[in-house]
């Protein structure tokens, strides 16, 4: 029974992180949200008996995707609506 509750908790966490990364205006926090989505998704693959997929998701999701997104928001803006000036961001 506890396993089922754990699975439901994980599903809720996954959806919450996905919604957070869509809703939040700061793009850096959105990227961190995709990082959490990728971490929990990897645990899902692991529970569904697919360790090779979990391994690839771990390597690509947590390291490479974060790095290329951060390089992008460094070269563009960090604010989604582009209201805060790039030099003045204090978050």
């Amino acid at each position: 029974m506890i396993f089922i509750i754990l699975l439901i908790i994980m599903a809720v966490l996954l959806l919450a992180a996905a919604v957070y990364s869509i809703v939040h205006r700061d793009l850096l926090f959105a990227v961190m949200g995709t990082g959490i989505v990728s971490v929990v998704l990897s645990l899902f693959f692991y529970l569904l008996q697919a360790p090779d997929v979990a391994l690839t998701e771990a390597a690509i999701g947590i390291a490479l995707t974060t790095i290329i997104f951060i390089i992008t928001i460094r070269n563009t803006t960090r604010d989604e609506d582009e209201i805060i000036d790039k030099e003045n961001e204090k978050l």
């Binding site: 996905a18 008996q49 989604e80």
Partner: protein, 131 residues
């Protein structure tokens, strides 16, 4: 001890199936919302990658069977052929993750180019067709 956990997995198989499929479809819908409604290009790419994640979860969930084990032959598991989960969706998902990463990288590099030309990354402010 493994048997007790396997019993749990068999007993609540429907709940696990519904949970996995529901999570996958929820992720796809969230990503679709972002792709359709958001104005910022980086946000759209984030939505695409979340949609990707949902589709991968759906595929792996299709291949799962009750009381399954990983489709890898290793010492102690030479005769576990009929217990193994379907390896074909896993191979497909493995390829799809890599290709999704490549698509994300290309899209982000295009966004950087676009930003350097237009000084904005919002699609409703980019009005000229050529750049």
């Amino acid at each position: 001890m493994q048997e007790e956990f396997n019993e749990i997995f068999i007993k609540y198989h429907e709940i696990i199936t519904i949970g996995v499929y529901g999570t996958a479809i929820g992720l796809i819908l969230i990503g679709l919302y972002a792709v359709l409604m958001k104005k910022n290009l980086v946000k759209i790419v984030i939505g695409l990658s979340i949609m990707d994640a949902g589709i991968h979860l759906l595929f792996v969930g299709i291949g799962y069977i009750q009381n399954g084990t990983a489709p890898i032959f290793s010492p102690g598991y030479e005769n576990a052929g009929e217990r193994m989960v379907d390896p074909v969706p896993q191979a497909l998902v493995l390829t799809a993750i890599i290709i999704g990463f490549a698509i994300t990288a290309v899209a982000l590099s295009l966004i950087i180019r676009l930003y350097k030309h237009h000084h904005t990354a919002k699609i409703d402010q980019i009005k000229s067709l050529k750049w």
